[in-house]
Symmetry: C2
Subunit: 195 residues, 2 copies
């Protein structure tokens, strides 16, 4: 498969970067073709432009500034998102990737009355690797898992029917020992060796 | 009160901009001092920098690039967020405002084991005005309201104890008539006239 990996963290020596390297390495060793999109390194601008918003939800979306990202998305058979959860969501650089690239005419088709039809039939698998500062009970019981909800309902809903997904999350990262983080890296490695 | 209004939309002729003008006008007429922060117009960069991330969760956060925003937040008695919901969340420009400005040493104090204490005791009122493309049942029943969860738990939890809040949301905006949107504008006007 051709796998588009979307990574969002500014530091090359972070745990997020170690997770990213683990994902890319495991996928490559398993024989997949990896399109490694490091949004920070590529200097992605996540701020939707006025012309893009103006053309948003029209039959002629403004794609000129994100054309390469649209092509990479359309060329992919699978997607992996690798990011730290900041403020209960994706880092702004990744949030804005969805704002600007996953739009009408690319990720979905907008019909009358606001009804949408999925457009990413090429995406057959979805992987997510994320880390939280917050403990699991705050995320799951109090906040009812906003990141997972958006991914499972919003993102999966635009991929092919019966898209398969894998979700790896590490909570309370500030309180974890190096044995905990090593175990999580291994779990991610194993997961993507059999993606 | 001194009210910091945070607005995130690129188009001056959008419904979001009309809501923003309504909020600012109602607050000013009610005698409040408004610090109107139009993130697009101010060219806010929502991408957290490597040095900021490096100093994140340390006793010496890197604030030099967001200093004016920290000062404006500390000088405020109340906050109003005015934004369209894109991809089940804030536009990237507003998401990144929280990533970069609402950090340890500003919005909270990080203790041992990742426990946090609120630091924005100056914020006594919180207002939110947002619009959704999605219908209310998808947001509330399926996705369990990720935006409201983050605001009510995450943001409110860092303000003064017993902070008062007002939340105005318009769903299925693509399917609304002009009578619906006029009614919503009036509701927002009335709400902030008595903020």
């Amino acid at each position: 498969m051709r796998v588009l990996v979307l990574f969002a963290h500014p530091l090359a020596d972070s745990f997020a970067a170690a997770l990213h390297q683990t994902v890319v390495g495991a996928l490559a060793r398993a024989g997949h073709e990896v399109d490694d999109c490091d949004l920070y390194r590529e200097g992605f601008d996540p701020v939707m432009k006025a012309a893009e918003r103006r053309a948003h939800n029209t039959p002629n979306p403004e794609l000129s500034l994100v054309e390469s990202h649209v092509e990479r998305l359309r060329a992919a058979d699978a997607i992996v998102l690798c990011f730290p959860v900041w403020w209960y969501g994706m880092p702004a650089i990744l949030k804005g990737y969805f704002d600007r690239v996953w739009i009408n005419g690319v990720a979905f088709h907008l019909g009358t009355g606001g009804k949408i039809r999925a457009a990413l039939h090429n995406i057959k698998k979805l992987g997510v690797v994320c880390t939280y500062g917050a403990p699991w009970w705050l995320i799951k019981l109090v906040l009812r898992d906003p990141v997972r909800g958006v991914i499972h309902t919003g993102i999966r809903g635009l991929c092919t029917r019966h898209v398969k997904s894998k979700f790896f999350a590490l909570y309370s990262i500030e309180a974890k020992t190096s044995a905990d983080t090593t175990r999580f890296l291994q779990k991610v490695e194993d997961g993507f060796a059999r993606f």
